[in-house]
Amino acid sequence: MDSATTSQVQLTVNGKPVTLELDTRTSLLDMLREHLGLTGTKKGCNQGACGACTVLVNNRSVNACLTLAAMCQGASVTTIEGISENGRLHPLQEAFIRHDAMQCGYCTPGQIMSGIACIQAGETYSAHAVREFMSGNLCRCGAYQNIVAAVLEVAEQAGGRR
């Protein structure tokens, strides 16, 4: 490839329509961080191995680093910045604070997005199931057991309301 080409990408990010003229090589992750200033989604390895960049695309969790922005034409993307409503934290964000499910905080947005996907997928019938589901999200500080406790607690609350 000698020179870059650009393409227009239209999508919805956290409920807002967005139109961008992007280098076709731009990943969804770099689109969020570098073009939209949504730096809550983190770049940890840029190889799909750490999960720090987890976002929801059409309500499914994906590694934003392995997704080209151009693949998201017409898609609805939800990031960590889009899960609070009217300044009220998402129940899983509150649970993460309660259980101190973080230390440095860098993997935390990705953990929360995966946690939301885990609860939506119903993979919360046991601690073991949560641990398996959440194993794509590395936490080098080692907050795993607190993360599992937070996800299980929110899953139970959600189940109780049903």
Partner: protein
Amino acid sequence: MSRLIGEPLPRVDAPLKVTGRATYAAEHRLPDLAHAVIISAAVGKGRILEIDSRRALGEPGVLAVISHLNTARLPYRPHKGWIDPTVGERLHVLQDDFVRHWGQPVAVVVAETLEQAEHASHLVGIRYEAEAPSFTVPDGESIEPQGGYPANYSRGDADQALATAEHRVDCTYLIPRENHNPIEPHATIAQWDGQRLTVWDKTQFPTNVAEELAAVFGLERANVHLICPFVGGAFGTSLRTWPHTTLAALAARHVGRPVKLVLTRKQMYFGTGYRPETWQRVRLGAHSTGELTALKHEGIAETSRYEHYIEGLLNAPRFMYSCPHVTTSYRLVPQDVHTPTYMRAPGAASGMFALECAMDELAHELRIDPVELRLRNEPKIDESRNVPFSSRSLVQCLRTGAERIRWHRRRAEPGALREGHWLVGLGVASATYHTLRNTASARVRLRPDGTAVIETAAADMGPGTYTSLTQIACDELGLPPEKVQVVIGDSNLPRVPPHGGSQTLSSVGSAVLAACLAARSARQERAHSGAIAGSEIVATETSQPGDATKRYSMHAFGAVFAEVMVDVDLGIVRLAHMVGVYAAGRIVNPRLAHSQAIGGMVGGVGMALLEETHIDRRDGRITNANLAEYLVPTNADIPVFDAVFLDEHDPHVNPLGVKGIGELSYVGVAAAIANAVFNATGKRIRDLPITLEKLL
């Protein structure tokens, strides 16, 4: 108001972290920002013959290809931060055509966008004259390290005592190189304004970044400003200011625009330090009743050819147990690598792995319970210095841990406990880490509106500096947490030691305490004098350790108990449970301390079972420089751990009575797991990590 110290206050910065609003080094937004990508050397040693930038420069958006061919010689004034090796000189980047290690930065591409810079970096043609690098740990020519930890130590006559000992063990332990691998990559944004330089850089040592850049570029220290409010994990890798920070500043100056430079995950294995590979031989002599009569501990570690990285590998063996005849010897083997650095529990994690495994081997040899063996060798004083411990609660840690893991289930005979397809084993190890404290300063501003601001050049890589300093200030100023703001991560704030070595709370906490006391008395004075209220009260204090370190030996202690299950046929090791019991002085925040302790234990699991940096010895390439092949513990690897803190009051260590737990909780874990694996299988794995092929 109730006191906050000792209370489980939720992490004060947690709302920022769970909403993505905590901003890390690469996340500061600047207009006109250009992107830089490093080109890493593709030979392990040699010279650069040619750099052909024509294709790269022809790409749209590419602003520059910077190498030794087109950049000025930098002043590189002498500068040694607290964390730089005493012997040797830091790597001078892009200053000549020599390649000293695989992956050394040899050029930087700067472009309008990240995509353009990354693509162009692949179009730069570099020809090398390659030589064969050498990797000879442990057998290569070794040197006696200077400038800190002693190369040789002895009391009594260990050789003679070993020769006449009733029982002996003699074992060799290998620990591979390990990389810190925080999830946040190293990143720097650099911006020049004439001779003034501002950097947003990932660091555990804010003032040192400014000092190092001032030295490298020949600037006034006051003209360099570092900003780093959040650190996405570091574990030691962000203590030193590495060459990429210089490169970001160099690139920004070269193109006359602010530049962002983020290391790739792969590049983090080539230039930001690591725990050195070590070889250790431990010989123990003992009476049949268990009392140690001799201890001889030798260690050899890798370092680079341009710096001698040293750590306290053999500190603990000199005071851990009572023993009349002790010899330690520590050597370095320089190799064609970049310089190792402090990684969580530097020295102690490696040295205590060997010592605590050897103690387990001795217990087995003597048919004495491993907990009991340690109790029988409990010293009354630090026998290496002939001074008392300021406090030492190892015995209570061992007893409490044994109870909590139900140690009585353990059978002395390996392989005796079995659950279906799994062999079950229990193992124990002691832990220790020295209690550091260094001179630190802090400033307190009491505002007219009744709020307070605490300012200090500390950092928070995850343990909770923001929260614990808030608690200290609240108690001293009589304010609720919502009225206290802690500002850290800025080189213009009062100077403190590096955020490492478990010394932040002992050093910075003491300074905040002192500054709060000064602010409070200023407030009282003002009230008494009837002066007009309404202006801010500012108090800056410096707190330094007294001579208590001369009179006391200061260390935190702990005991780690692991329960493992090993698949009978496949050799898979699973952790069933782990208990860590710690005596670390006062615990300022039990909630955050628990997180830090279980985190240290998780790190130790990585050391025990997973982590190993592979070097292709033909050319020096690291073959698993990514998070898919360099394995770290995942959620599925980790059950619920039990971390317990004993009540311990130590009036000597520092005004707060804290000892630090960040390093302590990492120590002993690998040994406890290795000892549990032996108890399960009868196999001694003396080279980490304990992978299944070693158990088959």
